[in-house]
Symmetry: C2
Subunit: 501 residues, 2 copies
């Protein structure tokens, strides 16, 4: 019996009936973080309703606020219906992305750790409706969270009305894995957050939501989108190898302890491959304070190499889901899922001293990083939490293959076409070619190691040539640039399909 | 008797003798923050030594690490001697700046709140020598800090050897104004910093330094560089007016309380003018949690409008220094000077919810801010603490006249030539033309308000034309840009002396 609360059981209805409660121009706070714990039924029903309204010639769009990326059943179906007027934060759905980049959807790319804070402050406007997937409802009305926590506490707090999806497919054994922290959120009344270690529990494993606000309960039985990871390729293994070697070097120099510091790892194949590389590196008693637990991190926890992992979502492949469910009691004592305002909180990331490891789109020779845009104009996914961790962590590492599109693109460029992480916030850059340690260096010194250690040999002479001519001809020689050429590589790629001459 | 400690009194010597202890290639951590509390005598004596070595054909340069900008007696004289090989962080000396921009000095521009942390981590290399100005030395060896605290606790801790300048000109009545917090600085052993209000005292009013490390004590009697401020001009008053009106609007909307939140204010005339504007705005019981107390903030404290101001330095004009000294007992109970790793700490700025108000060099239509570079290549001063506050505060406001150089430069451009604050970290942009509230907006929505509210009428049609054509022709329409034109305005200025056609 997933809906234990008598009053709420009486509010069970179909997704179609519940979707009728969502009106045009509403701001809807939805659950969902990297394909985990998103509502499975309401968005599709809403999309149908929107499509019908459009067929009748009526305007109908909503503002969609989530935790991060979701799945085709949410972002995909709503984007295709033309019903998303505004969307934040991180997204990764192809249909949604296409409509953002053709100018039809307004998208705000915001640090994942800032969303709830800004919503509470009132900076993001009113939240009319929350649509949140949960695992179950206890008789007293407390809610068992699902496979992601995301911004759910904020949406449940702030929304005028709430629709719950109770997903039978999420195992009841998730109960107890979550840690939901309630604190006075607005200054000047803030207190220190009493979290000193990644494994600390500082809250309760349930959401609380005034049942009188809950206008509908919809039962579903659908698995999360499951992400499959490509096995680490040679390049990813080399990136992992450089990073492992660097960590060993830092331990020898006394700048890191043998158990490192809490690891944060971005999403995707490269991040997954780097964690995979840590598996065989001989490290032990590691911890993670991160956003998402993907396959490789689960494996590190499963093998006891990571003793505790704190995150806001579990986003696994099908086989990893099986492993996770088979040993759920083991994992429940080692995995903690928190709201993203805590998993990505500046205070905690700074205090714990996280080692941030994130992917990028392109970096420039001076260490500026573009995490979001192709050629300065098209968004890929968004900044995610990379800024939360790179800005306030112990060490901000960014990793990428040195080239993309079979070598047609150099991921190291003269000047990035969009800046998500400034020169002030990037400590280490890694490609399969090598690692550039940018700590304590001036821009010109950085250019030297980035070109020498990270650039692909095909592009290294071109970068060196740019730098040399910029140093010779640039008006200012602190950060030498040729403004008429800074984006020539991007323009060449757009024109000819390659950054090469 | 300023040197109360018997052992240290025996180590008194001339600046020339003390400068002999500084050897080539040493990294020297010096006191000094915005022209306050910097060593007055040793740098000049060191510069002479360096000049003599150069005349003998010997290499001699040092790495100079400070709190922030200093004065001609430190950065100026050392830069002219050719003796600075590397310098961090913020600087503002014309001779130093010229040598950074002609490529002779390597300069690292780092967030002021990160310097001590990175130094303790070992990321900035070894610190060989500290040269720190103090007000006096107590019989038990405790040191009374001077008019700035800056990174002094870190330099005193980390340096192998220490030279103290005891400046008779700094009033002994400064004793008790400082709050120096000692904490385990490296993770994983960190605890929450127990500061809940700007006025909290969490440490001791003295530095501690092992007397056996102190190799020289030099007595000086020289005032700080005193900065004079230009009286607020019409434009500055209009900027202040827009900001005051915005704060009132936020109070009406319930997003700010009537006493606002702790104010942070950047350095310079505009920041000073904005604080001046707050004076007559009818606000009361305000607080400040900031880096530097300049004239206008002192006046707000003096008139009781700001009840308590926390900073790391007091940087005043000559007349304000008189006022400060005349009523030092009044100010000592209302002004707290902390090390800059605490005044600019992510955890505290986030907890307190600072309202960040900083100047800029240029902003672009999408809300990216350049705080440091002219035309992407020449550094002006550095990022200072603007990133510490903009990134983790409650509200990040940036302000600038809409044009510079008598209208030849638009401070609102299609694309900034250097990014110090990304689109993700800029909430409010203000010029004398008006205020753009960027919260909760997509890039295109931001462009609309930035062009409409902030740009100068002379440049507004040019910006609108760029945006319209970019939206039409850009490959991606999330952040529309024409890469071949993005820096055309800067190039035109470099070529013709104006950004106008």
């Amino acid at each position: 019996m997933r809906v234990g609360h008598v009053g709420l059981a009486a509010r069970r209805m179909s997704a179609e009936e519940a979707a009728e409660l969502i009106l045009p121009d509403m701001a809807v706070g939805m659950s969902g973080f990297t394909g985990a714990g998103y509502p499975k039924a309401i968005p599709g029903a809403l999309a149908k309703r929107i499509t019908q309204a459009h067929e009748r010639g009526e305007d109908f769009s909503v503002r969609v606020l989530t935790g991060a990326s979701t799945a085709p059943e949410l972002d995909g179906v709503l984007a295709r219906s033309g019903g998303i007027g505004f969307r934040l934060p991180y997204q990764s759905d192809p249909d949604l992305r296409a409509r953002i980049n053709d100018g039809r959807i307004e998208y705000m790319d915001i640090h994942l750790g800032h969303v709830a804070q800004y919503a509470y402050y009132g900076f993001l406007g009113k939240v009319d409706m929350a649509v949140v997937e949960v695992t179950g409802i206890l008789p007293d009305g407390r809610l068992i969270p699902s496979t992601s926590v995301g911004n759910n506490p904020a949406w449940l707090d702030l929304a005028d009305k709430v629709i719950l999806e109770v997903n039978q497919r999420q195992p009841m054994s998730l109960e107890g894995m979550h840690d939901i922290y309630q604190a006075p959120l607005a200054p000047p009344h803030r207190q220190p957050i009493p979290l000193l270690n990644p494994g600390d529990r500082i809250g309760e494993p349930y959401f609380y939501c005034d049942p009188s606000k809950i206008v509908a309960v919809v039962e579903t039985d659908t698995p999360d989108r499951m992400t499959s990871f490509t096995p680490p390729d040679e390049g990813s293994k080399m990136i992992a190898g450089h990073l492992v070697e660097f960590f060993r070097h830092e331990i020898r120099k006394g700048r890191l302890g043998e158990h490192l510091l809490p690891l944060q790892s971005g999403v995707g194949n490269i991040a997954n491959a780097v964690l995979d590389g840590l598996k065989d590196a001989g490290f032990g008693k590691l911890t993670a304070y991160t956003e998402v637990i993907q396959d490789a991190m689960l494996e590190l926890v499963g093998e006891g190499i990571i003793t505790v992992a704190s995150a806001t979502a579990v986003s696994l492949s099908e086989s990893a889901v099986d492993e996770f469910m088979d040993r759920i009691d083991y994992y429940r004592s080692r995995v903690i899922l928190r709201q993203q305002s805590i998993s990505n909180h500046a205070e905690l990331i700074r205090r714990l001293g996280c080692i941030a490891m994130n992917g990028l789109v392109e970096a420039d020779i001076y260490g500026n990083v573009n995490s979001t845009h192709v050629a300065g104009t098209s968004i890929i996914n968004g900044i995610g939490g990379s800024g939360d961790f790179a800005r306030n962590g112990f060490l901000s590492c960014f990793m990428t293959p040195s080239t993309a599109k079979n070598g047609a693109i150099s991921c190291i460029v003269p000047m990035v076409s969009h800046v998500d992480h400034t020169e002030h916030d990037v400590a280490v850059l890694v490609t399969e070619q090598g690692l550039a340690d940018l700590r304590g260096l001036s821009p010109k010194q950085r250019a030297n190691v980035v070109i020498g250690n990270c650039a692909h040999p095909d592009y290294r002479p071109m970068l060196q040539d740019y730098f040399d001519r910029a140093f010779r001809d640039s008006q200012g020689k602190h950060t030498p640039h040729l403004l008429n050429e800074a984006y020539a590589w991007h323009q060449r790629y757009l024109g000819t399909g390659t950054m090469k001459f």
